[in-house]
Amino acid sequence: MGVKVQAEDFDLGAELAALRAGRTDIGALVSFSGLVRDTAGGQPISGMELEHYPGMTEKALSQIEAEAHTRWPLQASLIIHRYGPLAPGDQIMMVATASLHRAAAFEAAEFLMDYLKSRAPFWKKEAIGAGARWVDARDTDEEALSRWR
């Protein structure tokens, strides 16, 4: 289990290699990474600023991760989320889940993503032209949680 909240970029391949290094018991390793798109609602964006709540962020992510481990037989997991200024094409975050079989790893990764989107204290502000606007939470993000209840 691991949670990292950082301004720096990460190496997805290296993180996955480290997660399974020296282990022969893992049968399925699922990863997801979120990237900065160059458009928002059809408008080009030049970048974004990710704000977070230091302290609560780490706590919330660890709680979500621990919850995933109680629901699925996970052998390992990792959540990395960046903050600060990001440009289109940049990696924003990643989750990885390892289990004996793929179903648990896929489901747990989706669970982590669904919870992280609405329960971890991050806020995105997109730069559009000369201005910037805070990204609105989507109703669909909140609805996505209902299937895990």
């Binding site: 979120g34 990710l50 704000e51 977070h52 709540y53 302290g55 609560m56 706590k59 919330a60 989320h81 924003i92 975050m93 993503m113 992280l116 989107k117 609405s118 329960r119 971890a120 204290p121 991050f122 806020w123 995105k124 502000k125 805070w134 990204v135 609105d136 939470a137 909140e142």
Partner: protein, 81 residues
């Protein structure tokens, strides 16, 4: 107690955190007290349906009691991932 603001709530209030002396019993009472104090708070808290609250870094409801709480945070719905 320390009161923290994030994202557009921070921008509307005009500062990221402050120490507040209050006898407010609940989060809603604190919101009413701050809103009565200055216009910028009233603006930030004009639509409480768009505000989320954390007490000592745990999500909480508006009617949650403040007794024993050291840190209150106000922010919009989260948009990570």
């Amino acid at each position: 107690m320390d009161v923290l603001y994030f994202a557009w709530v921070r921008e509307r209030v005009g500062l990221p955190r402050e120490a507040v002396e209050t006898e407010a019993a609940t989060v809603a009472d604190l919101v009413a007290e701050l809103s009565a104090r200055e216009e910028r708070y009233a603006v930030a808290f004009s639509d409480m349906a768009a505000i989320r609250v954390a007490l000592d870094q745990e999500l909480a409801d508006l009617d949650a009691p403040l007794q024993g709480v050291r840190e209150v945070a106000f922010f919009p719905p989260m948009t990570g991932g």
